[in-house]
């Protein structure tokens, strides 16, 4: 197995804050890897260490076999980072931004202009090539930012929350891009707060919380670690929450997972029990919508691992 990234006991402190508290990762080459966790979990700090922007306080990180502290220059030659905020010059046009980065990567002026035009085309930004980036929409900014990271093919591309704040259509476009970049042989490491995003994109993922990896594996691994099937449903009338809880508690014991204000995600061992529960709710005239019986979602996984829902934390 070739590892693109290996870390051992990575610790990073900022004053009294322990942003990373012993992160161990092994990320395979040529894959999409997700770092999943709420705000402040340590995802961004992790990739900033891996991209040589931060020095670890303790521990060791090898990126493509090079130590991020002692061989930072070698690492920088082979990785690209797209930060959380569009790291392009808003005063410049899209084309000028890409020429700038191309030149700084060593392309001649002619090649830089050609490459910029080529990337703008590939990212669907040709029409906006001559407009200042400050006039771009969120999705366009994200794309120009990712394009700037792909002027030359990095061995590893770090994407910090690539779709935060994007509308669904732009999010789909970015997802599609990430898949294409990965299929061209680049290892993509992305952070996300969206469980769905990690589920849809990443072959493997690490769940990070309080600066530690609390779970690692494929989406399937993580879900099966929670075990069994889960019955999801939402209440038609959130006012009946207490009533619904009582019925669930009576039948299932304490297996309720509050997946949201009006949502329930309940571990069930067999379908008959699920049917019985739905029946009791119906008889008590508790209206149920959006019900499904299936494998647990990553939300359920996160809750099982941390004892609190992912969404609430990330909203904070």
């Amino acid at each position: 197995m070739t590892s693109a990234i290996e870390t051992a006991g990575l610790v990073k402190t900022f004053g009294d804050t322990r942003a990373l508290d012993g992160v161990d990762l092994a990320i395979r080459s040529r894959s999409i890897y997700g770092l999943l966790g709420p705000n402040g979990a340590g995802k961004t700090t992790t990739i900033r260490v891996l991209a040589t922007l931060l020095r670890p306080t303790r521990g060791r990180a090898l990126v493509l076999g090079h130590d991020v502290v002692t061989d930072a220059a070698l690492v920088r030659r082979q990785v690209s980072l797209t930060g959380q905020y569009a790291s392009v010059d808003e005063d410049l046009t899209g084309h000028e931004n890409l020429v700038l980065v191309s030149r700084l990567l060593g392309l001649s002026w002619g090649d830089a202009r050609a490459r910029a035009a080529e990337l703008l085309g590939a990212f669907g930004l040709s029409d906006a090539a001559g407009k200042q980036v400050r006039t771009y929409s969120g999705g366009m900014r994200r794309r120009i930012d990712i394009a700037a990271s792909l002027v030359t093919r990095p061995e590893i591309l770090f994407l910090d929350e690539p779709t935060t704040g994007l509308d669904p259509r732009s999010r789909n476009q970015v997802w599609e891009l990430v898949r294409r970049i990965a299929s061209d042989g680049t290892t993509v490491v992305l952070t996300t707060q969206y469980l769905e995003e990690a589920d849809r994109l990443a072959e493997r993922m690490a769940v990070i919380d309080h600066g530690r990896v609390i779970a690692e594996g494929t989406s399937r691994d993580l879900k099966s670690s929670v075990g069994t099937n889960t019955l999801h449903f939402r209440l038609a009338n959130p006012g009946q929450h207490a009533e619904a809880r009582a019925i669930v508690g009576e039948l299932m014991g304490d297996g309720t997972l509050p997946a949201g204000e009006a949502g329930f995600a309940i571990k069930v061992t067999d379908a008959a029990l699920a049917a019985e529960l739905l029946g009791r709710l119906a008889r008590a005239q508790v209206g149920v919508v959006d019900f499904s019986l299936g494998a647990p979602s990553l939300d359920d996984v996160f809750f099982a691992l941390t004892g609190r829902p992912a969404e609430k934390e990330s909203a904070a």
């Binding site: 991209a51 046009t93 000028e96 700084l104």
Partner: protein
């Protein structure tokens, strides 16, 4: 989603290997080009550089000129080299503002993760400043000539004076680079600038000679590098260069750079 929604070819994503890293000179030149583009796209940023010095020149020449120098025309011979010094030193603040903005926008993260000579962004920004200084200097001197400024040193003297002011301005820029890297917002850079630049330029001989100042102030003003710079610029423009003051400016500039540049570059490498 369908392939049609994402225009373009996958081919563009299949990138060639990275070329040889860019040379230090090419990186700096590229970032200087970026500084020029920013001026082209946001010409408004030249407003401060152009309007303020014009106002100051007119204000001091016509309102205070008679009182300070006998007549506006006499006074402007004294004032103009000083206004040039003051204006250009004030513009050095924008170096700090620009760097602070780049850091806040995450642009320096990209620069720092590129395999290039790392001081290039800082030096490229200084090249953009050179353009601003030149615009401001051309305006002030042009306006001065219209108002009756007659430098005995001729064009050569004026250019030499401008060159000397540049030397000191570039040295001073390093202090703004440090401030730009340390504070949280571009606005804080501007706030810091007033606390620092007002005393530095007003407690000098830019507007009046030392004769009328109280003794204790005269002692301070005499050691202000801006005083030496102004005296030297006046000397060069009016054809009686003052070697000691020119030497003083070079020495002060070298001292500032020797201390501030290493600090600034270390801060640049420091994590944020």
């Amino acid at each position: 989603m369908s392939a049609g929604e994402m225009p373009g070819e996958t081919d563009a994503l299949v990138m060639r290997a990275r070329p040889r890293p860019v040379s230090a000179l090419a990186a700096t030149a590229t970032l200087a080009w970026r500084a020029m583009l920013k001026i082209k796209h946001v010409p408004f940023q030249l407003f401060d550089v152009t309007i303020t010095p014009i106002m100051f020149t007119l204000l001091f020449t016509y309102i205070f000129g008679g009182a300070l120098g006998g007549s506006p025309r006499t006074y402007i011979q004294f004032l103009l080299p000083g206004i040039l010094v003051q204006t250009i030193l004030f513009i050095t603040v924008y170096t700090g503002v620009g760097i602070n903005t780049d850091i806040q926008k995450g642009l320096y993260d990209r620069f720092r993760s590129l395999p290039m000579w790392q001081p290039a962004p800082v030096l490229g920004a200084l090249a953009g400043d050179l353009f601003r200084y030149s615009v401001a200097a051309a305006l002030i001197i042009g306006l001065g000539l219209m108002l009756g400024f007659r430098p005995a040193g001729g064009a050569v003297g004026v250019l030499l004076a401008f060159g000397l002011v540049l030397v000191f301005a570039f040295a001073l820029s390093w202090i703004w680079i440090i401030i730009g890297m340390k504070v949280k917002t571009p606005e804080s850079v501007m706030t810091a600038s007033f606390a620092f630049m007002m005393p530095l330029t007003f407690a000098s001989n830019v507007f009046v000679g030392l004769d009328t100042m109280p003794g204790w102030l005269r002692a301070v003003v005499r050691h202000n590098p801006v005083t030496h710079l102004t005296t030297a610029s006046r000397g060069l423009m009016h054809g009686h260069p003052v070697a000691a003051d020119v030497a003083w400016v070079f020495a002060a500039s070298a001292a500032i750079v020797a201390v501030a540049a290493p600090i600034a570059l270390r801060l640049y490498h420091q994590e944020r």
